[in-house]
């Protein structure tokens, strides 16, 4: 028994020592590689730090699109240090600190808190954001002109809310009451709620918002919303994306149709239709912006925030059959 403990102790110490030894072992290798850089500027390699807020379908797709774009253009000349804050906002500060101190060539910040931490960490290294809806609010910039005027640019996942509202009107012209359900913890959802409420109110709907704090009270809130309204609108909300099943199980039996802000939510929540953006495309666009900055020397301060390259009207055939809705030909099946 005592020997066992001693062995465990020794093994653990060795593990720690190995960790620290590897830390000391290879400084020469590093200095070997650095001088070769300036000789051949063509063969220069780029280090890119990716800071993603949380594991999530849409964010993962954006990160993948970003990596694919740069790998397509630069091949193995680009190296990624991909880190995930696992949902804890303050870890994104730890990650950005790591990136800045190791001198990456560009930081890609996926989601709002990641972008904010990146902005705080450096005003020199170029930063590209993605999956951020409203850059003016996220970065605390007063006169928002579409450009940040500093080392930051990126892509916005804002689906055109006026078109979303128009689509809702096209499908349900006779409805009176529209309920919007979203998570109170998500700044982007609140923004979408505000904007689409204005559009829908202008069209003559009476609109009411229903917020929940986490998945535990979603069911209660969704029940209330569905029983009080003719149509439900779901914005691009991460918490709804993870719990769309709950809404589907309440809305379908109650025969209340759903319009969703995004494809994944639409199919999971049993929604009728959506105006869809692809987070992969969004990430890919961000990757192309990174290429322009790294290789063509563009200044992020002068680059406009870009939006998803295309929007597609999509519908859910099964659900439309259930509700007996027929849609114009321009809608694609999900």
């Amino acid at each position: 028994m005592k020997n066992m403990k001693r062995i465990i102790l020794i093994l653990m110490s060795i593990a720690l020592v190995l960790l620290s030894l590897t830390a000391c072992g290879k400084s020469p290798e590093v200095s070997d590689t650095t001088p070769s850089g300036p000789e051949q500027p063509e063969a220069q390699s780029y280090n890119i730090g990716i800071c993603q807020l949380v594991q999530h379908e849409a964010l993962d797709a954006a990160t993948k699109g970003f990596r694919d774009a740069l790998t397509d253009k630069l091949g193995d000349k680009v190296k990624f240090d991909e880190q995930n804050a696992n949902g804890e906002p303050d870890i994104s500060a730890t990650i950005c600190n790591q990136f800045v101190s190791s001198g990456v060539d560009l930081i890609m910040a996926n989601a709002t808190p990641a972008l904010q931490a990146a902005q705080t960490s450096t005003n020199k290294i170029p930063i590209l954001g993605t999956s951020v809806t409203d850059y003016g609010t996220a970065l605390d910039i007063d006169d928002w002109t579409g450009k940040t005027g500093k080392n930051i640019s990126g892509t916005s996942d804002l689906a055109p809310l006026d078109q979303q509202a128009a689509m809702l009107h096209e499908i349900f012209p006779d409805a009176h009451k529209v309920g919007i359900i979203y998570c109170s913890a998500e700044p982007n959802s609140k923004y979408q709620d505000k904007v689409i409420t204005e559009h829908l109110t202008d069209m003559g709907y009476s609109v009411k918002s229903y917020t929940f704090s986490d998945s535990n009270d979603l069911q209660t809130v969704a029940k209330a919303a569905i029983s009080e309204n003719d149509v439900i609108y779901l914005p691009t909300d991460n918490t709804i994306a993870s719990n769309a099943e709950i809404i589907k199980n309440i809305a379908l039996p109650a025969k209340v149709p759903i319009i969703a802000g995004e494809e994944g939510i639409c199919s999971a929540s049993g929604g009728v239709a959506t105006l869809s953006i692809s987070y992969y495309d969004l990430g890919y666009t961000t990757g192309e912006m990174a290429y322009e900055i790294l290789v063509n020397g563009k200044d992020p301060a002068t680059m406009e925030i870009r939006y998803a390259p295309k929007f597609t009207k999509k519908y859910n055939p099964d659900i439309c059959d259930t509700f007996g809705i027929t849609l114009p030909d321009e809608y694609e099946a999900l």
């Binding site: 590093v30 696992n86 870890i91 790591q98 705080t120």
Partner: protein, 317 residues
């Protein structure tokens, strides 16, 4: 071969250069851990209010700074909000008789709504280019000095306070409430006082954190209690291993702050090792477990009973 290539790809200098940032973040959490230390260790009260008051500290600080109030005053007001949070938990527990964990949880979830109201949403940025902040990820070298001064001052104040009659009464309340009652001390008052003090520190730390990272987020307090507890325990264990029986109350407080620094160093280490990101928490937990286990196992092997046992076994043989 791949393993060697992996080890060669790690750059030790990067670990070192990231260290100052990790230290600042660690001290900020270490101050939060001081608050947790007061309730969990001194008062023996499992207070879960801190998840709420940490985020509240951040939210209030950011909103006030955005409203044009200087950062130090904003931070002071945030600290008072933390005090109120602690008092509410104390009220629920002592006057309404709600068990400690539940009382803390109730206050904590109320703060979710309050913080949403304060922030007018889920997230507000405070731009370091526009406001004069006390600490920031942008100026790590000055932040580190500021944080060291803050930590030293707070530890000294706490050391002094827990040596006064009132502070000693709080410690005694945690140790032996019956005895304290017999001395004619109002233990309910002591509990409320300690909860208020603890949550002051937590909100103060939340206010510093929001300035450091440049934003306040409704989720920034989630899991704060776990980090705080980890820091307290890491600090205690490591302090015990290094100083052992010479540990006094002052050094104990210093090691609680140090516990936070070590926790963030470990996270930095795991990131630097470029482990698969989905496993970040697993690796963090493992490395912390190794840190905690080594002094314990070492103490076991160095235990005088073990020597005595060995000697006896040899004699008998």
């Amino acid at each position: 071969m791949e393993l060697i290539a992996y080890f060669l790809s790690l750059k030790p200098l990067n670990l070192l250069s990231a260290l100052p940032g990790n230290i600042v973040q660690g001290i900020i959490w270490g101050i939060m851990a001081l608050g947790v230390f007061i309730t969990f260790r001194l008062l023996n009260f499992a207070d879960l209010t801190v998840d709420g008051t940490f985020a509240a500290g951040g939210a209030v600080t950011v909103v006030l700074i955005l409203a044009g109030i200087p950062a130090p005053i904003a931070l002071a007001i945030a600290t008072i909000v933390g005090l109120l949070g602690g008092l509410v938990t104390g009220f629920l527990h002592t006057i309404l008789g709600i068990p400690d964990i539940l009382a803390g949880i109730l206050t904590q979830i109320s703060f979710w709504s309050i913080n949403l109201l304060v922030l007018d949403g889920a997230n507000r940025a405070v731009n370091v280019d526009k406001y004069h902040l006390i600490v920031s990820l942008r100026n790590i070298s000055s932040s580190i000095v500021t944080m060291l001064v803050f930590a030293a001052v707070l530890v000294s104040i706490l050391y002094w306070y827990f040596g006064t009659e009132q502070g000693s009464a709080i410690r005694a309340t945690g140790n032996n409430p019956q005895m304290v009652k017999a001395q004619g001390i109002n233990i309910d008052f002591m509990k409320v006082l300690a909860l208020g003090l603890s949550n002051c520190l937590v909100a103060f730390s939340g206010g510093l954190m929001s300035q450091f990272q440049g934003f306040a987020d409704i989720k920034m307090g989630q899991g704060a209690i776990v980090i705080g507890l980890a820091a307290v325990i890491i600090g205690e264990v490591i302090g015990d291993a290094l100083i052992g029986k010479y540990m006094n109350f002052y050094i104990k407080l210093v090691f609680v702050v140090l516990g936070g620094v070590i926790y963030y160093f470990v996270i930095g280490l795991v990131m630097w090792l470029r482990m698969p990101t989905d496993l970040l928490k697993l690796f963090t937990a493992s490395v912390v477990a190794i840190f905690l286990a080594i002094p314990y196992l070492k103490a076991k092997t160095n235990n005088s009973f073990v020597f005595a046992n060995k000697g006896g076994a040899q004699k008998n043989a």
